[in-house]
Amino acid sequence: MLSALIWLPVLGALFTGILLPKWAKVSAIATSSIVLFLNLLLLRQFNLGEGGFQLQENLTWLDSIGLNYSLGIDGLSLPLVVLNGLITWLVVCFDREIEERKPLFYVLIFLIHSSFSGAVLSLNTLLFVLFYEVELIPIYLVIAIWGGKQKNYAAIKFLIFTAISGILILAGFLALAWLSGNGGALFDYQALQSVSLPLSTQIILLLLLLGGFAIKAPFVPFHTWLPDTYVESITPVVMMLGGVVAKLGTYGLFRFCVSLFPDAWSLLSPWIALWAGLGILYGAVTAIAQKDIKRMVAYSSIGHMSYILLAAAAGTPLSLVGGIAQMVSHGLILALLFDLVGIIEKKVGTRELDVLNGLLNPLRGFPTISALLILGGMASAGIPGMLGFIAEFLVFQGSFVKFPIPTLLAILGTGLTAVYFVILLNRTCFGKLDNATAYYPKVFRSEQIPALVLTSIIIFLGIQPQWLTAWSETVATQITDRLPSVTIAQTPSPSSFRK
């Protein structure tokens, strides 16, 4: 089952790649639909009450170097796999931007999809790195081929940053494997969980991995690749990047940083929480300063990813459930916002906040798109009744008991989120259309479908959050159990480092 989720898209990609362009779309839709169906089937097969990894698959591959094909799924990876399936399906089925080299585009999207699924399903750290690295190539290509004016710059920047991220992670895993194995290298994730390393070693390895995943997520100050990459990527690509791929960073945080180095994590967590709080504020303040709506959404993403970092730092069951929910919430909301921003840019021809106006106009504007943008903004700002609120509230409630000041900073960041979304919505949707320029083409129904689907899910899960949080409650408890029961310090003190 899990292998099918990884390899079926690859097969679909191969098949799609050899077809004529007019048939490529049909093949891509069929493939993504089957994969989405398998994802839904996976939800049925997953046992909520069962701890540990389920549906495991093990295949000896290069045993001599410790690289084995080990897959498994738990409450952390399941939501991300399904999110990946959903966003890929929306991107493939409803994309209207790609005019040239369609088959190649679908091939690359499926490769991104498969490598993401492979990474989050891997129970072997080397296999994880393999999928993690493989993903870079199709992403680089989709940015470089279909991107905006600065596509080459953005693609190269993304490649360099993410390659460094990969190198750090690989170094961390290699070091961990050598230090953990009795004479050999240990890459098996489940076995690594029972390895106990000295605290100083844990800290060094943790910092390596944390650096790698902080670039991928990204967290401030490792974020500088993100605005350029997101802004230069076309809508379907940025939906995949922001909605899905970035979650590899936060997934790695939960899966490896917190779970494999619990002592070191607990020691550093006050600093990490503070880092998260400042990152949230930085993202919000920078977003407020933007004049380009896509860039504004990109910076908002930086801030919102830091909520997950705060949740991980707190390490309480509630905050971890909130953090996983925030991964899904962020993925859905960001994909929605980028989709809507992409439609506006395509129809109006600009993303400039000072030029856009009056898009709620019922006949000459985009009333549905504007209404969905308002809903997306509300969801991102954590307005109750939508998924964003649930995720952020869980994070805040879970982390406040351990780190009140960073949590208050995060809450302040949520308030600032409302500020920049009010600015965005006020300038973009309200006001009057410019009579000289407002002859925009209409938005077709099919273009509205992805946003309608995403909004529906955001609202539904906002009203019925149990359908999301239930998957990850068990794994959150398991991760928390691995962390030391005593909080080292609420406020970081230099002396705590010298221990």
Partner: protein, 432 residues
């Protein structure tokens, strides 16, 4: 074509002034413009046929009803009311058609946009009807703005009018001690209601003329009669002069007896008491409809002088049409139901086709009203000044000063009136 003996005008709208001096309209003479304005006249004429009948019904029958919930439910008597300017029985026949309500109007009233016969109340509540709200807004604009010329306005403040109104009020509320008691307590309030009813009658009588004028123009166009925009404008100019002296009056029917508030014998005429004030109030000034134009009293964006109001059809931003709370939307909705097929086909080719037809027809309406205003300007010139082909250069200079004076209203920077005016926009065919 006339050749001007004068040097070129230096006015910001010199091109348009030269066109007016040539006997043209403010609207450029193109086939597209002609088709748009005539099509719109026809689409406007059908609901207008309802408007004038209902306005007279409200003025004559509903009058001071404190709860006029059914004032838009026009009785058969008023649908059958013979138009004085159409059909065989016309006093002055303008339209060659019939004098009773237009057949397209009757068909629409029967089934509405739903194309289903359901109780009239449901059609009404669903706004699947001819919307009188815009007509009433025009009436209020005429009523509210002051000093627009004519003798009716001072007459409504005269003792004679007050006595006429007093008689009508007492007769209307005969046997109703509560209302008569209120009248004793607040006589000015009732008097003001009478003045408003008079204004209903004035606008009803104005549109009683305009509906057959527009029907006739549509028929002439369909027969290939108009060769350009100036032809259409000149038809209006000639019509204005033909109708100018027709009476403006107000009478009320109370239990079968007619009471005159403004008797015909007073000699108030159509051109001065209805046409000129209508153009001034509705085309130039109106009131700042909520949502039509962003205005802010605290920022002193709302003129203190009524002469400076500039929210009329000639200034209105048509792009927000269909937004909630903008009365002209209802007018455009009314016209939308009666567009001639050639205009529907035309709109399909531009912008969003059927989806934003309401705005496209609103812009055509704006063009057509610029043409009507041109006719009024030319009629004013003909009435008070000199022929366009006058050999005396001093007379031509006087004409030019008049035209420039008229066009300066659109160039006035006060309160941003120059930016709001759509006169430059309509010069281009791309303004849709």
């Amino acid at each position: 074509m006339l050749t001007s003996q004068l040097p070129p005008s230096t006015h910001p709208f010199a091109d348009i002034i030269h066109r007016l001096e040539q006997g043209g309209s403010m609207l450029p003479d193109t086939e597209e413009n002609l088709m748009q304005i005539i099509g719109l006249y026809k689409a406007y004429a059908v609901p207008m046929d309802f408007y004038w009948r209902d306005l007279l019904y409200i003025a004559e029958q509903v009058f001071l009803d404190p709860l006029p919930a059914f004032k838009y439910f026009l009785p058969q008597e008023y649908l059958d009311l013979a138009n004085h300017y159409a059909g065989e029985t016309a006093d002055l026949r303008i339209w060659r058609g019939y004098s009773t309500a237009h057949q397209e109007l009757l068909d629409f009233m029967a089934k509405g946009e739903l194309k289903t016969k359901i109780p009239k109340l449901f059609h009404h509540l669903y706004h699947d009807r001819i919307n009188m709200e815009f007509a009433e807004e025009c009436m209020r604009a005429m009523f509210w703005h002051r000093n627009m010329g004519g003798l009716l306005e001072p007459y409504m403040d005269s003792e004679e009018y007050k006595q006429n109104a007093d008689r009508a009020i007492r007769a209307y509320f005969q046997g109703n001690p509560i209302m008569l008691g209120l009248y004793r307590l607040f006589p000015e309030m009732f008097l003001e209601q009478c003045r408003q009813a008079t204004m209903y009658s004035v606008l009803g009588l104005f549109w009683e003329v305009m509906a057959p004028v527009f029907f006739e123009m549509s028929d002439i166009y369909d027969e290939g009669g108009f060769k350009g925009v100036p032809d259409a404008m000149n038809f209006l100019v000639n019509g204005i002069f033909a109708i100018a002296g027709r009476p403006i009056y107000h009478r009320v029917n109370i239990r079968g007896e007619w009471f005159d508030l403004v008797p015909k014998a007073k000699g108030f005429t159509w051109l001065y008491e209805a046409a000129f004030p209508y153009v001034e109030a509705v085309f130039y000034r109106t009131s700042p409809f909520r949502g039509t134009k962003s205005y802010n009293a605290q920022a002193q964006e709302v003129p203190t002088d009524q002469n400076d109001f500039h929210y009329g059809v000639l200034y209105a931003d048509k792009f927000p049409v269909a937004s909630a709370g903008i009365p002209p939307t209802l007018l455009h909705q009314d016209m939308y139901h009666f567009l001639p097929p050639y205009l529907i086909d035309y709109y399909q080719k531009f912008c969003r086709g059927k989806d934003d037809m309401l705005i496209q027809l609103a812009v055509s309406f704006q063009r057509s009203m610029y043409n009507v205003t041109s006719a009024v300007i030319q009629a004013g010139r003909a009435a008070f000044l000199y022929p366009l082909d006058d050999p005396n250069p001093r007379h031509l200079l006087a004409n030019r000063a008049y035209f420039e004076g008229q066009l300066t209203r659109f160039a006035n920077p006060k309160y941003g009136m120059n930016k709001a005016a759509r006169i430059l926009a309509i010069q281009s065919q791309n303004y849709r």
